[in-house]
């Protein structure tokens, strides 16, 4: 039998009023309107209420620079690989923080939720990384995250990560807004899930996760809580794992051999530490890895398994180039050094040299802790002569060479290689 439409009597004689018009008005127009109203307009009305439930003062509109940055974000295709949508799922909330509420998106024309996550979600990016980290990463992502597949955007810069155009600074301004309202809000509980009809057990899990303050595991913070990273027994496997982790995560900034010479270093202030010039205690490295170095581009690595951080610690300790032991310094020199230290260094670096002097709170990054890291003599001399740009450490041109030598020797005696982990 041949394929037939409705019987000719239905259509043949009706001309303009045949079956075709049923298709046009029901299939084409009717079902379109049904979907438009059911899945667009109706939820939209409810979302309007939610979006306007938050006071405008709690979520400031974008500034002109932020808006320009948002356009850069949209046109470079950032949203194709980065979502801005923390879903109402424990796994998402655990990783990124509170779920993305409708009211957070009230100024987003058009929305940039995204549908694919190749890079991390950016909904909570606001304070996670430092500005120079962001710019250097935009200039050349692999320079800072060696295994990244993100494209670089060198045309947003005038030849280097430290010379951004307004396009780059606008984009940075926009990135700083992501999750800002939520961070300022303090309301951790996802208040807008009550009518969601979600699985109560899962909702409870999410609410519990949100009850504790969320700090992104890569966000540097000033904190003293540390895991114990004492190496178990030094082994080849441990060293190999540490070396691999170093290459994957640290070499971008600190250089393949740890000397701090890297393409990323150009854009970062303060510069990445030259790991070859310092002897670190396990606590010192635990502090840097677990909490990052707030005020610098050094992120935290709290998302790493503690065993990996221990391997990394053991590996970084082997990067120190000079011998760990040397001839003792004469007592008179040390005494002179102590005097110089008390006069010039103590206010910031503290009586014990632990970086907790009375003035320390005024500085980010915090003053160096001499008990957990021992710098080589030459490195200290360099710092005394030039200071450390990007930190509170100035140069000390008025100290005599002898004073410098003495205080250098004194500072090195403050190091306590065997201290256990902080409580």
């Amino acid at each position: 039998m041949a394929e037939r439409g409705p019987a000719p009597t239905h259509t043949g004689s009706h001309g303009w009023f045949g079956y075709a018009y049923l298709l046009i008005f029901l299939a084409g127009v009717g079902f379109f309107l049904l979907s438009f109203v059911a899945l667009g307009v109706l939820p939209g009305l409810r979302l309007t209420d939610k979006m306007e439930s938050v006071r405008q003062s709690d979520i400031p509109p974008y500034t002109p620079a932020e808006l320009r940055g948002r356009k850069v974000y949209a046109s470079l295709g950032c949203a194709l690989c980065h979502t801005q949508l923390v879903r109402y799922l424990p796994a998402d909330v655990q990783r990124w923080g509170a779920p993305t509420a409708a009211w957070e998106t009230r100024y987003d024309y058009p929305q940039v939720w995204g549908t694919r996550r190749i890079g991390p979600d950016l909904a909570r990016e606001t304070h996670v990384r430092s500005n120079d980290w962001q710019l250097t990463h935009l200039y050349n992502p692999q320079s800072i995250v060696p295994d990244s597949v993100m494209p670089g955007f060198p045309w947003l810069f005038n030849g280097g990560p430290n010379r951004p155009t307004t396009g780059a600074t606008d984009l940075l301004a926009y990135l700083r807004t992501l999750g800002r309202a939520r961070a300022n809000d303090g309301k951790r509980v996802p208040d807008d899930t009550h009518d969601s009809g979600m699985d109560p057990a899962m909702l409870m899990q999410i609410t519990n996760l949100c009850a504790a303050p969320f700090i992104h595991p890569q966000q540097a913070r000033v904190d003293t809580a540390l895991p114990a990273l004492d190496k178990q027994t030094a082994s080849e496997a441990l060293h190999a794992r540490g070396s691999q982790l170093y290459a994957q995560n640290c070499a971008g900034c600190h250089g393949a051999n740890g000397d701090g010479q890297s393409p990323a270093a150009v854009g970062l202030t303060p510069k990445p530490t030259n790991l070859r010039l310092h002897r670190y205690s396990t606590v010192g490295l635990a502090q840097a890895l677990w909490n990052g170095v707030a005020g610098s581009a050094m992120p935290a690595w709290r998302d790493f398994p503690v065993a990996d951080l221990a391997s990394l610690t053991a590996y970084v300790q082997t990067l120190h180039a000079a011998a760990d032991t040397e001839a003792p310094t004469p007592a008179p020199t040390l005494a002179r050094g102590a005097t110089v230290y008390a006069g010039h260094c103590l206010a910031c670096h503290g009586v014990q040299g632990d970086g907790k002097g009375p003035a320390a709170l005024g500085y980010l990054p915090r003053p160096a802790n001499f008990t957990t890291a021992q710098s080589d003599t030459a490195r200290i001399a360099q710092v005394l002569n030039k200071g450390i740009p990007g930190t509170g450490m100035p140069a000390w041109p008025n100290l005599t060479p002898l004073d410098k030598q003495a205080v250098t020797a004194f500072v090195r005696t403050l190091f306590k290689p065997k201290t256990g982990p902080a409580p």
């Binding site: 394929e3 045949g18 049904l34 899945l39 667009g40 950032c78 024309y109 045309w155 009518d195």
Partner: protein, 495 residues
């Protein structure tokens, strides 16, 4: 009708302008052969270019520095050019070529205007495809000219405006001949799908492209979600089904298995597909009952597709040998089978337990390639081959087409399996405590395989195009194939 008559009728249909009615085989309307060819050329050129854009995107995920120094070749622009090029350049032109071929045959009258046709051709290819690619490459920041961060409508608003005008002209060109007075025997299934798709897409396109610019954030996303599904479900799908319902009975010489199932399939498609949209934002702040409704509709869609595919495959029962040797039928059969797979996969992955793990992963990229390359492009390629064989001055060489089939299918299957596995691996890592970069590192092997899979696909497209342009002296071959089909004769005797 005698064999001799059929032969004469074919000549009338192919060489001298007028088409034969699809239903009665009478010579009833003239066909715009020039427009068929122009759209087919544009489709094939766009296919190649858009596939190359896609290949660059794939290479960049393995080698981020590749073509990385310029804004015109940045990853985001290349991806926008890939997806929009496939949608508008390749599928859009292929569908238009098919419409110019099929609408006069289905309706018994010519399309509205040849002049309109050439305007539409120019607008579509210069004002949409070319302008879109150029504006994406220039990457202007201004609202009207800027790339949009919205899936399936990345081209700037300026291009969207031309697109909407073109969609309106398409409706004007093709709906009146079909709608005004059907053939004495009534309207054929393909006509339903063509009318539905033309009207629906004209209305749905602004919803995806313009509304999210006017309503913010989560509200806009609800509308984006509609378009993300409508573009596949109510643009690509109905046109491919129109091709399938048209080509199958012609080439097998046998009618569609069940008219009742055709009707159920059609109405359920147009009812349930548009309600799928929100399944792209499951577990978002869009009201949960809206999400659940969309998920329910997605499941209904799976049932619907099962009915449609059952109907189509039953129409091919006992025809294995013919499907195997006949180029268009083989492409169409593959399209039908993949339609079933990709739709059942779609229903499955819309379910909340699946969404938890596979949303945002490469699983979805595998799914979209199975839909747009496996289902839509195989259907369009088969349809184009059928059109080519019956358009004056156009013949294909079957050898190249068979080669193309295996290359494209092989590449697609490698890519699909690879990306699906990648998605599972990514989802597993994301729900663990592993650092983010672990998921990137573990994906790199999969991304390399996916890039390598581009090679057979590109070669397959090249073989197809070569086949399309090297058939001049293979004319006798394709006539032979044609007379084997003798579809219209059977249809007439049956109807």
């Amino acid at each position: 009708m005698s064999n001799q008559d059929v032969q004469t009728a074919h000549h009338a249909g192919h060489e001298q302008g007028p088409a034969l009615s699809f239903v009665t085989s009478e010579s009833v309307a003239s066909v715009e052969t020039g427009l068929i060819k122009a759209h087919a050329y544009a489709a094939l050129a766009s296919l190649m270019i858009a596939a190359l854009f896609g290949t660059v995107v794939a290479i960049k995920m393995v080698q981020p520095d590749f073509l990385g120094d310029h804004i015109w070749s940045t990853w985001g622009s290349m991806r926008a050019n890939h997806t929009q090029g496939i949608l508008f350049g390749w599928l859009g032109n292929a569908f238009l070529a098919f419409l110019y071929f099929a609408v006069p045959r289905l309706s018994g009258r010519p399309v509205i205007s040849r002049t309109l046709g050439w305007w539409l051709f120019g607008l579509w290819n210069i004002g949409v495809v070319l302008l879109g690619w150029v504006l994406v490459s220039i990457n202007m920041p201004d609202y009207f000219w800027a790339i949009k961060p919205l899936e399936w409508t990345e081209f700037p608003l300026a291009v969207n405006l031309v697109t909407e005008v073109s969609l309106g002209l398409m409706a004007l060109q093709f709906i009146p001949p079909l709608a005004r007075k059907p053939n004495p025997d009534g309207m054929y299934v393909s006509s339903w799908y063509i009318i539905g798709a033309l009207v629906f897409t004209f209305l749905a396109f602004p919803v995806g492209s313009l509304v999210p610019q006017l309503v913010p954030g989560a509200m806009g996303a609800a509308f984006s979600g509609l378009w993300i599904h409508d573009v596949v479900g109510l643009f690509a799908t109905p046109f491919v089904l129109a091709i399938t319902f048209f080509v199958l009975p012609i080439r097998t010489g046998r009618p569609i298995y069940s008219h009742f199932l055709s009707m159920i399939g059609f109405w359920l498609l147009f009812f349930s597909y548009p309600l799928n949209g929100t399944h792209h934002y499951v577990y978002s702040s869009i009201p949960m009952d809206t999400q659940r409704a969309a998920i329910a509709a997605s499941v209904i869609m799976g049932f619907d597709v099962t009915l449609v595919v059952f109907n189509l495959l039953m129409s091919l029962r006992g025809q294995a040998a013919r499907v195997w040797e006949d180029v268009p039928l083989r492409f169409m059969w593959t399209s039908i089978v993949i339609y079933l797979i990709v739709s059942l996969q779609g229903s499955l992955q819309a379910l909340m337990p699946m969404q938890r793990y596979i949303h945002f992963t490469d699983w979805v990229i595998g799914h979209s390639h199975l839909a747009m390359l496996g289902f839509a492009s195989f259907g369009a390629l088969g349809g184009l081959a059928h059109v080519w064989e019956r358009t004056p001055g156009c013949r294909y060489r079957p050898g190249y087409m068979h080669l193309a089939y295996w290359l494209i299918l092989g590449g697609l299957l490698v890519m699909f399996i690879d990306l699906t596995a990648a998605g599972i691996a990514q989802g597993k890592l994301w729900t663990s405590a592993a650092p983010w970069m672990d998921s990137v590192r573990s994906s790199q092997g999969y991304w390399l395989v996916r890039t390598l899979a581009a090679l057979p696909i590109l070669l397959g497209f090249a073989a197809f195009i070569t086949g399309m342009f090297s058939g001049a002296d293979g004319r006798a071959d394709s006539r032979q194939t044609l007379s084997k089909g003798r579809a219209q004769a059977s249809l007439v005797s049956g109807g």
